[in-house]
Amino acid sequence: MQATSSVRETLITGGKTVRDVSEDISRHVENKPNRLWWIAFGFSLILFGFGFYCLAALLWDGIGLWGLNKTVGWAWDITNFVWWVGIGHAGTLISAILLLFRQKWRMSINRAAEAMTIFAVICAATFPLAHMGRLWLGFYWALPLPNTWGSLWVNFNSPLLWDVFAISTYFTVSLVFWYIGLIPDFAVIRDRATRMGHKTRAAIYNALSFGWDGAAKTWMRYESVALILAGLSTPLVLSVHTIVSFDFATSIVPGWHTTIFPPYFVAGAIFSGFAMVLTLLIVTRKVFKLEDYITIYHIELMNIIIIITGSIVGIAYITEFFVAWYGMVPAEFYAFYNRATGPYWWAYWSMMTCNVISPQLFWFKKIRTNIAATFVLSIIVNIGMWFERFVIIVTSIHRDYLPSSWSMFYPTIYDMGEYIFTFGLFFTAFFLFAKFFPVINMAEVKSIIKSSSEQKH
C-alpha cells in the first residue's frame, strides 16, 4: 500500500475514523444553520442588494456613471477584474498542481478553494460584461458567432478576445473538476438521508450525485478522470493569468509594455489566491468546528506558499524598476518614476508594504502558525494585490505623452457599488455552498485516514 514517512506531521488530527469523517462533514449540510451563518449570509445579501442597484443603474444609464475620463479609460473595472481572476487561481492550483505533486495536504482544502475559484471567476466576469454597456449584445462582440454584420468575425489577434476564451475555458473546466469531486460526497449525504428517512433530501442528493454507487470500476475511471483533469488544468491555470497579463503586455503603453508580466502576474495570482483561501478557511474551520481537518499544519503550508509567491512578486517589482532604468527609454522610465513618487505614490507604497514587506513576517514560525496573525496578513495581502493592479493600470495611463491631457481618476459611487456587488455575490455564493455542499472532500480525506491520522490500529 502506501509508505508514509513518520517524520511527516499528521494531516488529520483528533483520532478520526472513516465514519467520523462522514459525520463531521455531512452534519453541516443536514443541520439547520446557526445564528452566525444567518448573520453573515444576511450581511452578504445586503451588499449584494446594494451592488445590484448600482449595477442596474449602470446598465440603464451606461458606463458614463463610472469615474472614467478621456485619459484614464480603464480603472476600477479592470482592476477589480484582474483582482478577482487572480483570487480565482488558488483553487485549481491546489486541486490540480498539488494533485500532480501528490501533496496530500490539499485534500482538506481543495473543495472550498475550488468553490472560491468558481465564485471569484464569476465576480471577475461581471466587470468586462458591465463594461460592454449593452450586455445583451456581448455574445456577438465576444464570441465568433454568425451575425448580421455580414459575418464580421471577432478579432483573433486581440488579447481581449484571448481573455474571453481563457476565462470561459478556465471557468468551465474548474466547474467540471469541482463537480466531479463532489459526486461521491453527494452520494454520502444521499445515503445518510435515506437512513434518516429524509426522502426529499435523498432524492435531491441522488440527482446531484448522478446515481453514484462507488463501484470499483467507476472509482478506477474516476481517478483516471481526476488525474487527466489535473494534467489539463495545470497549464490552463498558468495560461489564464498569462493571457490576462497580455491585455497589458502586448500594448505599447509605458509601464505595461513589459515581458516580465506573464510570470509576475501568475505568481501574484497564486499569492492573492492563497491569501483569500486562508481568509475563508480560517472562518470556515471556526464556524464549522473543522479544526481537526484544517489544522495549523495546513495553514502553515499555505503561508509558506505565500512567502514564496510574495517574494517572486517582490523581485518582479524590483526587476521592473531596474529594466525601466536600464532600458533607457525616457517614457518607460518616467512611468515608473511617476508610480513611486507621483500623485499616486500612496497607492504604490501601500502595494509595496502589503505585498513585499508583510508576507516576509511568515519567515517566523510563531507568526505563520498563529491563526489571528495569518488572518490579518491574508487580508493585508489582498489589499496589497488590489493596489498592485490599480497601480499598474491607473498610474501607467493617467499621465500620457501629452502633459495637457494628464488627469487623475476619481471613483464614483457606481465604481464602488459594482465592487461591492461582487463582494455580495461572492460571499452569498460561498455561504450557500458552505451550507448545502460538503465543504471538505470526504472521499479523499477518508482515503488518507489510515496513513495520515492519529488513529490507532
Partner: protein
C-alpha cells in the same frame, strides 16, 4: 440485468487492506466477484479485481485533438478567407496570435469530452437510482457483491470463503 430475482451474497469489509487481501483470497478460491463498492478509491483494487486499464485517456486525447483542429480551422477560415481584415497592418493569417485560442479550445474540448465519456460509460445520470448492496458502502464499509447465479459454489461455501478472507459480515441481498 432485468431478471426478476437476482440473488447476491454481500461481504462487508471494515478496512481497505483487509479488503485487498480478501479480494485476492476470494478470487483465488475461484469465486467470481460481481463488484466491490467502496466509500473512497482503494489503490490496487482494480488490479486485484483484474480490471483492464481504462481507455479514458485515449478519449481525452481524441477530444483534445478535435479542439485543436476546430480552433485552427475556425481562425484561419474566419480571418483568412471569409472576411480578411487589416488589423494594425498585420498579416491576415499568422499562427502566433492564434495559439492562445488553439490551446484553450484543446483543453476545453478534451476536458468536457472526457467527462461526458466517463458519465456515459459509467452509466451516471441524475435520474438513475443505483442499486445499493449495503447502504454503508458510502460511509465506512467496503462491500463485496457476489452474484450467486454466476458461481458454481453454493451459498454456504461462498459465505465461508468470505468469512475466512476477512469479511466482518456476510449478508444476502435479492433484487
Amino acid at each position: 440485468m432485468s431478471s426478476t430475482s437476482e440473488k447476491f451474497l454481500v461481504g462487508i469489509f471494515d478496512d481497505e487492506d483487509i479488503l485487498l487481501h480478501g479480494v485476492e483470497g476470494v478470487r483465488g478460491k475461484g469465486v467470481k466477484i460481481h463488484e466491490v463498492y467502496s466509500p473512497f478509491p482503494v489503490h490496487g483494487l482494480d488490479e486485484a479485481l483484474g480490471y483492464k486499464r481504462t481507455r479514458l485517456p485515449i478519449a481525452a486525447f481524441l477530444f483534445g485533438l478535435t479542439g485543436t483542429i476546430l480552433a485552427v480551422t475556425m481562425q484561419f477560415w474566419m480571418l483568412g478567407f471569409d472576411w480578411p481584415m487589416i488589423i494594425g497592418g498585420k498579416n491576415f493569417v499568422s499562427l502566433p496570435p492564434f495559439i492562445p485560442v488553439i490551446f484553450e479550445l484543446t483543453v476545453l474540448l478534451s476536458a468536457l469530452g472526457m467527462v461526458a465519456t466517463f458519465l456515459i460509460v459509467s452509466d451516471m445520470k441524475p435520474y438513475k437510482t443505483p442499486r445499493s448492496y449495503d447502504i454503508r458502502s458510502t460511509d465506512d464499509k467496503h462491500v463485496m457483491a457476489i452474484d450467486l447465479a454466476a458461481n458454481k459454489l453454493s451459498k454456504d461455501e461462498i459465505g465461508q470463503i468470505l468469512k475466512a478472507n476477512g469479511a466482518s459480515e456476510v449478508n444476502e441481498k435479492n433484487f
